[in-house]
Symmetry: C2
Subunit: 437 residues, 2 copies
């Protein structure tokens, strides 16, 4: 099937990530989209960088304006950033009838009204999932997933730099200035961090979310913006004594007489899930009148997480342009002829870690017998506790956590362990998942 | 604009919720969908119940089969449940060229392959957002939001009953049987709780997620299913000592030689966000190769949360059928001519709670002066701590949390407080949000 041709403007971090992911997952993405998505031309001032990133697989130009008018290009992906040239390019692309996908929150927060009006007039799509919370599909949730609801408010941790700094200030009790330096060293903060730490970036994203939640135009210049640079470590400590965490939240609320739109450090009860979002992660909490609270969490920045959102928009456009309008989004996510008959593994082949509890006689040599059996089955132990038996209690509990093991190995070990005379009841066996990668 | 006509099969909890939300949010939903969505006919064996729920605003019939063939009906919403009559009705509806929206996870997990094949052949849509995790738009995230990714695994708390029971067992140290009784009394568990507590319901939902994550057919009969009825309170306690929580997880993983598909109680590190999902809430953690981990959280059951998902599917169908294919999903979620010019409120009108820190002379009467000023501004105090001053330290800190207050009131109070001679530096003022409703 004819590929959909993408013109990529800017091949920096996110552009490079988009290229990498589209290439690596080409088969999977085509199975979902119904047709291949191909970056056919890349515009970047730095042609050498572009050459390295694309390894000669795409046409390279240094003039982005030639791409937005290129008749072969179906979708323009704008990853140049800023609100000057980027605005001109996006408007030109629309004028030429191109669909546009962008990660540029500043551009949309400031010039979104103009851009969306132009796009509506031309009948083209503007995808901007990547503009808010990186790879977290929060724009799709608001535009499509929660359409039944009167949205009441949104509260979001939508800037990773500031959340990283606040997490570190709390963890280590250090002042803002010191943690900022560490964040800069680690690459979590820019050399000039103003945009992030003063809340401007969060306000751009909040402005976009407020518009699609409440059906209002972008009104960035009416947002109240306060950052974290004045925040003192002492207040984080006092807040904690009172049961609260301090997060930089973007908050927008529907009130009777208007909409609140504000970014500022905020105390939130520590028992809320969003209060436990640490490091450079993002999370958005949305309150709808029917659904109640829903939360969306993930990486808010970085090459591939942001590319994930850019490509989701590209797939949306590709699906929109398939021949069969009723099948835009395939029932099972993949096109019906692209399903695979991958087998479900039998339980014996499942690989996980295990929690074992053994009721045993409290006597010497028991642990040696058990660990010998586990070693024979190639099962290695990650942690162990042994309950102190009560006075005159002849038996005790041994609890063990194993490293990754196959189910059939643990089953074999358990059969042998239960046959030991010192083991007094069936072994309790639970599975354990680290869920970290 | 011509309304889209819905035939509703079954007006129990979710059906009633769907009717209520569609009615209450009619204006908002129409602004998003581009045309009204109207329940034109309701089929229920209990006509009296149906009459009460719809208050005479829809045609009522007791024969659901007459609805699926009704030429006036555009979309059939199946909320009858079960896998017998529901299957016949859905297949008949498809045969008649109707789009179908269903919350029936058992039906899809068991007969999904047949149903989706029939729907593909007829060119109709099957919406099933409500089948997994209630109002949380996880189906949309998997089918559309994460299309760039090779999904590696999914781990979900997708049954509220069992999560409620596990939360209570841990909180109160009570055995399963006792907590189950409490859950039944509170309406969190059915009289016959087997389906929930033995993991069958979770396995239905997991089967559906695995299919759309990996592009495989539904294979419910190959799932390994283990519930929580055998779980002992002691193991929850031991797990906690080792830094883990026990949750009933649905887990599906892509391995080299196949797919793991399993539901069982699982230890997970307590520092993971998903380990802190308490009570009857649902959460799904998805690991994609590009985006990393993303998490989706919210109410997994109940009339209006489930209705939220049903209606989102209805809006998807309605948008799909608008005249202008490029504008299926409006840029700003609402149709361009349905935006509203709601004003952004000035900061002075913002209403929130406040954290105040005051550096004051450690002498009698200070607190009286300050609380008097707050009372004059109608600001009431929710909590207060006063730091014990060090030896020979003439000053101390007072920290206060206020109840809901308007920004202009707090500003006025701060001006007066800072004018007190006993107050030694600018008042630190942070905002506080409970984020609970």
């Amino acid at each position: 099937m004819k590929p959909i041709n993408v013109g990529l403007l800017g091949i920096g971090t996110v552009g490079g990530g988009t290229y990498t992911v589209l290439t690596r997952n080409e088969a999977e993405i085509t199975r979902r989209a119904g047709r291949p998505i191909r970056i056919s031309v890349v515009a970047d001032k730095n042609l050498e960088l572009a050459r390295q990133a694309t390894q000669g697989a795409a046409r390279l130009v240094d003039d982005a304006f030639s791409v937005v008018g290129d008749p072969e290009v179906d979708i323009v992906v704008e990853l140049i950033g800023g609100v000057g040239v980027a605005r001109d390019l996006v408007l030109k692309a629309i004028e030429h009838g191109k669909h546009v996908v962008t990660a540029n929150k500043a551009l949309l927060a400031k010039h979104g009204n103009e851009i969306f009006a132009a796009a509506s007039a031309k009948g083209v799509m503007i995808g901007f999932e990547a503009a808010v919370a990186g790879g977290v599909p929060i724009i799709k949730a608001l535009r499509e997933g929660l359409t039944a609801n009167r949205i009441q408010w949104i509260a979001g941790i939508i800037n990773g730099t500031t959340n990283f700094i606040l997490s570190e200030m709390r963890d280590k009790g250090l002042p803002f200035a010191e943690v900022l330096k560490e964040a800069q060293r680690l690459g979590y903060a820019e050399a000039d961090p103003t945009f992030d730490v003063e809340g401007v970036d969060a306000a751009h994203k909040l402005t976009i979310m407020a518009a699609i939640a409440f059906g209002i135009p972008m009104q960035f210049d009416r947002a109240h913006i306060e950052g974290i640079s004045q925040l003192e470590a002492e207040d984080i400590k006092y807040a904690e004594q009172l049961g609260y965490r301090i997060k930089l939240l973007g908050i927008t609320k529907r009130k009777e007489n208007g909409i609140e739109l504000r970014v500022h450090p905020t105390l939130i009860p520590e028992r809320r899930l969003i209060a436990n979002v640490e490091g450079a992660m993002n999370a958005v909490l949305v309150q709808g009148d029917a659904v109640g609270a829903t939360l969306y969490y993930g990486k808010g920045a970085g090459a591939e997480p942001t590319a994930s959102a850019v490509i989701a928009d590209l797939v949306d456009v590709a699906r929109m342009q398939t021949a069969d309008p009723e099948h835009r989004v395939p029932h099972l996510a993949f096109q019906p002829d692209a399903l695979q008959d991958t087998p479900i593994l039998p339980l014996a082949e499942v690989e996980t870690s295990y929690y074992l509890r053994l009721r045993v006689d409290d006597q010497p040599g028991v642990l040696a017998d058990i660990t010998r059996i586990l070693a024979d089955q190639n099962i290695s132990i990650d942690a162990m506790i042994q309950r102190e038996p009560g006075e005159n209690e002849p038996q005790t509990d041994i609890i063990m956590l194993t490293h990754l093991t196959r189910e059939k190995q643990i089953e074999a070990a358990i059969v042998r362990i239960e046959a030991l005379p010192v083991v007094k009841r069936k072994v309790i066996r639970l599975r354990l998942e680290e869920l970290d990668k």
